[in-house]
Amino acid sequence: MSDATTSALAIAAAVRAGKVRARDVVADALARIAQRDVALNAFTVVLSEHARADADTIDRRLAQGKDPGPLAGVPFAVKNLFDIAGVSTLAGSKINADRAPATRDATAVARLRASGAVLVGALNMDEYAYGFTTENTHYGPTRNPHDPSRIAGGSSGGSAAAVAAGLVPLTLGTDTNGSIRVPAALCGVFGLKPTFGRVSRAGVAPLAWSFDHVGPLARHVADLAAAFDAIAGPDTLDPSCATRSSPPCAGELERGADGLRIAILGGHFARLAADEALAAVARVGRALGVSREITLPEVHRARAAAQVITACEAAAIHLENLRSRAADFDPMTRDRLLAATLLPASAYLRAQRLRAWFRERVAEVFRDADVLLAPTTPWTAPAIGAPWMTRIDGVEVPTRGHLGAFTQPLSFIGLPVVSVPVITPGSLPVGVQLIGRPFEEASILRVASRLEAERVAISPVV
């Protein structure tokens, strides 16, 4: 039998060895969800019958002597903007609930299922992924397992909370401005935002076409790497997907951080952050023997450009519904989307120019470094319904928007990033970003694995 603490790879090994049936593993996961999710509100749909049927298929394949896949019997769930055949893709909205059920799985979902993993449900999120909190008005807030009065982060809040609570060992989320990394940090789990183009977005409802990413969340680095290996690689259904092959990362983890040049990002990434966020970076730096600091130029302007590009692309996607049924949007997203429709085209294009310039400056930094460290969020999880503004270091900042201050400037130039959880007993979790060169996910996963082995970054079930 598996319990809430069993890793995805341990489950798969036990199922493949015939020590446990996939059906029993899935039944355990469904029981945990039934018991705990009433309080957490991570799931928006639980696919009990489908999951049991899929688990039976895995067990039958094994009985027939066939290979059920490297993730055989691993229960997983996905943010509800992924298409699931037979289910309407909500994307956190009331509007999309009117849509017909999807006719096929999103590519990433299909690839995990082809690897033997068993889909057990869909997970809560900010409406249309435009937020950092999962305080969804339509479906209720997802609660942080470390403190249910606090947000889980977002927009993949359900994906992070489900893993942190041990409901499932593996989930998928998406990340445009931090939507995998922010909830991973606030819920104390590992989250990987791969390089833009590394994982197909086919069958995934968009927030911003030019930098939406798909990635996994898990409590163990090896699980994260195995899931990434399963979903990465070319896909003709996603025109932005890279055509280069994706070498497996799982086998690279044991190399640890040896030979990698690592530095800490200062400047923007050290300003307007609470002490616990900076202390986590310092702790990770000490564990890796890193003292070198690097400052990227004009990061606050890069973040501004990410905000403008996101707003313009999201507004373009939702313009027709904003014209015809604005009242049906979540009030948490509606006014921001309406405002974004009013921006001039020149604003979008000037933001894109800055993006091109900033990408080149960061590429120059990576000639002399392999992995960069930075806090994931400026502070721990705020309370659900927290005031709109927060004062830090004498400056008023938006409580929710500021959660993305350190993630936004990185994803809009497509870099791969792992957020690793740093947990001090008696305190809420924070995350540290391990930032790599494009298409070098293996390097950041190696560093994450080293930090996990030294128990600097750990993700206990709560």
Partner: protein, 65 residues
């Protein structure tokens, strides 16, 4: 958006005028909040504009067969 570094101000009348240009009707009770969000976005645009980029910097895509 004025490039002067001054705070960006957007009125409800601005919101109405801009919305009309794209055939969007914004409910009266939403206009103040939309104006506030638009001012925040225009402040971000202002931050972008304050950095003088080399003339050759452009966002054109690269086509590879």
């Amino acid at each position: 958006m004025n490039g002067s570094g001054e705070p960006v101000r957007v009125t409800e009348a601005d919101v109405d005028r801009l919305a009309a240009q794209i055939g969007l009707v914004i409910a009266p009770e939403r206009r103040a909040a939309v104006a506030q969000h638009l001012a925040a976005l225009l402040a971000a645009v202002q931050a972008i504009d304050e950095l003088a980029l080399p003339p050759a910097t452009e966002p054109a895509p690269r086509f590879e067969p």
